[in-house]
Subunit: 214 residues, 2 copies
């Protein structure tokens, strides 16, 4: 038996992945906090706008993808965005309508162009000495809850992978929690291998500080 | 019941952890291959001296610990090494004597000073946006087999942790295979947390290349 299907009402959405601007920092901070909540890591969250700004936008600026690189996902509904030098890609999506976004006003574009911010990526270079080549490590890739399951995560991850491949890098790495089965299925569908045997080790806080005086 | 113990013959060993030189590259390549054998990863090993040289020693040089940083572990027996600008630390050990090192001639110091190379570290900066601070990621930390269980791994890891703490970094991360119980015990003894829930995801090879033409 198949259940009856109804044609859902849809609308056009333009998504732009662009290099973040300093004015995006408060939005990125809020989204990092939303991630920390989901990953049950709010106890280690201590980022402020000012501390994030200084790490994400060092002076003088460093070359994108060869240093810490924040990308912001902007959505617009009324008209396609104008491509700028900061744009990685703009793509059109057809999505169910309406989308209820309770945080919409908190994530309204600081550029005053009627758009909203729905996600972000933060990545930085890593190195494989086996290949030996540079790679990219994705520290965060995040889509806000109302905007999930529309292809926006795939849009962002594909662009990061494309960029890494174009730059001659040998791999793109990131981490996932083993209980986040939706994310694992999504990543595998994108062609990723999920390593079951490797564990991350970490010295931090007092366990790291005690080595200072060694 | 306790078993009888005998006083083992011991000798003095001076260990120096120093910034690697280009002339250390062939030794580092051989040790990376030894690691790949142990980690059952020789199928992805494709480093040559020339490719390693270009990734480890870019021109112009980049600042140590804020870029890919190779360190080499030199051992001497006859006299303490002379401290240089490349030295991180020199420490004296009392070790069982004699030590059988079948690869000794392959790892004789290229500096012609009678020393031998027994290990290496390769690390590079990473970033925690939760803290938000820079950190160090240890891609490799390795002591050749005959020189293990003498404290040399602890000597190297402590120095990397000390350096990270002194530089104001927030953490030192690395990976371990879950079946490598000796390493896991050693790392925990050094104060490290071993994360059981996180899994590494990776796009590499054809799975990465296919995004180039997206």
């Amino acid at each position: 038996m198949s259940s009856p299907s109804s044609a859902a009402e849809t609308t056009t959405l333009w998504a732009e992945l662009r290099h973040a601007e300093p004015s995006d920092v408060p939005f990125i901070r809020r989204m990092i906090y939303q991630m920390a909540e989901f990953e049950r890591l709010t106890h280690i969250f201590s980022a402020t706008d000012s501390s994030l700004l200084s790490i994400l936008f060092p002076s003088p600026p460093l070359p994108p993808f060869f240093s810490l690189t924040p990308l912001a996902l902007y959505l617009s509904f009324t008209s396609p965005p104008v491509r700028s030098s900061q744009t990685l890609s703009i793509t059109q999506f057809s999505i169910p309508f309406p989308v209820a976004d309770p945080d919409e006003s908190d994530f309204a574009s600081p550029l005053g162009d009627g758009r909203c911010i729905a996600g972000f990526v933060i990545c930085f270079p890593n190195y494989s000495t086996f290949l030996p080549k540079m790679g990219l490590y994705i520290e965060h890739i995040f889509v806000r809850e109302p905007w999930r399951r529309m292809g926006l995560g795939k849009f962002m991850l594909s662009l990061v992978a494309k960029k890494a491949a174009e730059l001659g890098m040998g791999r793109v790495d990131w981490c996932v929690l083993d209980w986040n089965v939706n994310a694992i299925e999504f990543y595998k569908g994108m062609g990723a291998e999920v390593f079951q045997e490797w564990r991350i080790c970490r010295l931090t806080g007092p366990s790291l500080e005690k080595y200072k005086d060694d």
